[in-house]
């Protein structure tokens, strides 16, 4: 499982427990884990059930292969529209490999929902709105928005639990429905490689070239020399 998704799942399950304990009024909360991926992604969805999620849903079709973030968001959006009665979409803040962090905002855009990224705490939530706190580079922000909405979370939001034995047994028996392109009523050109605006051509580690210049002399001479160099480079 993508590490950031473990926090999203934990937060979903905690919300359910919060509502079920009656602290937020007695709402019937159901947590559904949705994943687009190859048939093997079923395992990840089962894992999420062992962690307390109610059910899993796999979006899988050859036509979905090679999707970039936009096509992924498009496919997820179709599925979520079909689920229909949803209040909050929680995403991991980014994937472990692609690292773009784009799927969340794109999905929200497609569904016409408010999006709040990098949420570090859900302060208040009821049937109509959610109030969250998020950590920016230099400040905290507290934002309230109406529901439905989408948020993304990182590792500062919670410590994911260890699966339970009953959860694991439930996961073992669980049937994960698979929705394909027909089921989602999504056109081939919207999904997968053909629905993608971007294509990864090559992945490589950039060669870092270090140019080292050692400045010698007394401390005063070194400072003067360094000052001259930096000035020439336009840094100061």
């Amino acid at each position: 499982m993508n590490p950031f998704d473990t926090y999203a799942i934990e937060e979903g399950v905690r919300l359910k427990e919060r509502f079920n304990s009656g602290n937020n009024g007695n709402l019937d909360v159901e947590v559904i884990a949705v994943s687009m991926g190859p048939p093997q992604a079923e395992e990840v969805l089962k894992e999420s059930i062992s962690l307390g999620v109610d059910s899993g849903l796999l979006l899988s079709d050859r036509a979905f292969a090679g999707a970039d973030t936009w096509a992924t968001a498009a496919t997820l959006a179709r599925a979520i529209k079909k689920i229909d009665d949803y209040k909050l979409i929680i995403l991991g803040k980014q994937t472990f490999d692609g690292d773009t962090g784009q799927v969340g905002p794109e999905l929200a855009h497609k569904l016409n929902l408010p999006f709040i990224g990098y949420v570090s705490s859900i302060l208040e939530i009821d049937y109509k709105k959610v109030k969250v706190k998020r950590l920016m580079e230099d400040r905290y922000e507290i934002i309230e928005t109406r529901l439905p909405a989408a948020i993304s979370v990182g590792k500062d939001i919670n410590v994911p639990r260890v699966p339970s034995l009953r959860g694991k047994l439930k996961a073992k028996k669980a049937e994960i429905p698979v929705w394909d392109k027909n089921c989602l009523d999504i056109k081939e050109k919207e999904a997968g490689l053909s629905g993608s605006y971007t294509k990864v051509i090559k992945i490589f580690t950039p060669k870092v070239k270090h140019e080292v210049k050692i400045i010698k002399g007394s401390a005063d001479e070194q400072v003067n020399e360094l000052y001259k160099e930096l000035k020439e480079l336009g840094v100061i």
Binding site: R161, V162, P163, S164, L165, R166, G167, K168, L169
Partner: protein, 383 residues
């Protein structure tokens, strides 16, 4: 080496390993050093359903056998025996309710213990009554609809942390062992207080405390079965719980063996890894063989108990005796293999050696286990 485990049993092991790796190992040195009770870790253990194992499904449990409790205890003990002791002691505390409690008592207490929301403790030992449990002086006097408890229990695991206590007290002091009874006492009952918390050699993250009863009034219906059944309940409870003490011993010994083996491969002396020296190899071989033998005896005992066999006292005592003596030797040898480093707190084996010692003492010392085994041999023959 793995036994023929069912998928569910393997799941139990996987869950325990995740708890050990993610929660226990990063915390254990500090828990030991400062003697901190592992509240958060036990909550996680509870959320993972591990307290539910042995409890029947109708009381919120999972209705497994002692075998499952043993594999869970073994795995947790690989991480920290203080945590494993606190886990197992809650089980020890609720076994009397499980095997002799009334329907009402089971319904009232087992679900919250099975969920791990509450912990239990088992209060038998007193300052003057250790091996000789017939010497307990705590009394319970019937007064209308209540029993009035007076006396002090000593060295009670989970004391002060648990919510539900099964307490052994004399209802008929003149009758000796036949005059004892067992009661369920809830934490906040007036007249029930906690004495000092012990500073111990090992299992330092577990809480060991005095329980003090001063005219402590408990409802009459809190007696387990009837007056005079106390010692039968205690003995039957130990028959069921002792294999789990053996499982603690196997777990801590396994952990020490793993540390010693890994270290022997990286430590170089005289230009070679110490694992290339036959003296070290033979120690490792003996350690591994003994761990495996003890594990086999524990698993066998647990399976026999789970099969419903009635005469389990001898086997249960054997499993605890053999595994705990084994664990003491294996953990001492692990320190020896690590040499001076093994003696330092920077490595975990000195703690494992300190922790292992308790398995030879509690739930009946190993001398008492030998007494049980010998008496049963003489009474029933070799079988």
């Amino acid at each position: 080496m793995r036994y023929f485990l069912t998928e569910e049993q393997q799941m139990i092991i996987d869950i325990c390993r995740q708890i050990v790796d993610e929660r226990i190992i990063p915390a254990r040195a500090e828990l030991d050093e400062k003697g901190i009770f592992p509240t958060e870790i036990l909550k996680e253990v509870g959320k993972s359903d591990l307290f539910r194992l042995f409890v029947p499904e109708e009381y919120g449990g999972m209705g497994t056998g002692i075998f499952e409790v043993c594999i869970a205890t073994e795995e947790l003990s690989r991480g920290d025996m203080g945590v494993a002791t606190s886990y197992a002691a809650s089980g020890l505390g609720f076994i009397p309710i499980l095997i002799y409690g009334s329907e009402e008592q089971k319904k009232k207490y087992l679900p919250q213990l099975a969920s791990g929301e509450k912990l239990a403790a088992f209060g038998l030992t007193e300052s003057e009554a250790g091996s000789d449990v017939g010497g307990i002086r705590t009394t319970a006097k019937l007064d209308g609809d209540y029993y009035i408890l007076n006396g002090t229990k000593q060295w009670i695991t989970n004391g002060g942390e648990a919510d539900i206590y099964t307490i052994f007290a004399m209802t008929d002091p003149g009758k000796g062992a036949r005059g004892a009874s067992t009661f369920i006492v809830e934490r906040d009952t007036p007249g029930f207080n906690f004495g000092k918390k012990e500073d111990k050699l090992g299992i330092r993250s577990s809480a060991t405390r005095e329980l003090i009863f001063t005219d402590c009034k408990i409802p009459r219906e809190n007696i387990i079965t009837r007056e005079g059944m106390g010692f039968i309940i205690a003995m039957k409870t130990f028959d069921q719980s002792r294999p789990a003490v053996g499982a603690q011993a196997v777990g801590v010994a396994q952990a020490a063996l793993e540390e010693a083996l890994n270290y022997s491969k990286i430590r170089k002396q005289f230009g070679a890894a110490i694992s290339s020296f036959q003296a070290i190899q033979h120690m490792l071989a003996d350690m591994a063989t003994n761990v495996e033998a003890a594990r086999a005896l524990i698993y066998q005992t647990a399976k026999v108990i789970d099969s419903g066999e009635k005469n389990i006292g001898r086997l249960s005592a054997m499993s605890k005796l053999f595994a705990s003596d084994m664990a003491m030797k294996v953990t001492i040898d692990a320190v020896q293999i690590l040499g001076g480093y093994g003696y330092m707190k920077d490595y975990p084996v000195e703690r494992m050696m300190r922790d292992a010692k308790i398995t030879q003492i509690y739930e009946g010392t190993n001398q008492i286990q030998r007494n049980i085994i010998a008496l049963d041999l003489i009474k029933r023959g070799v079988l």
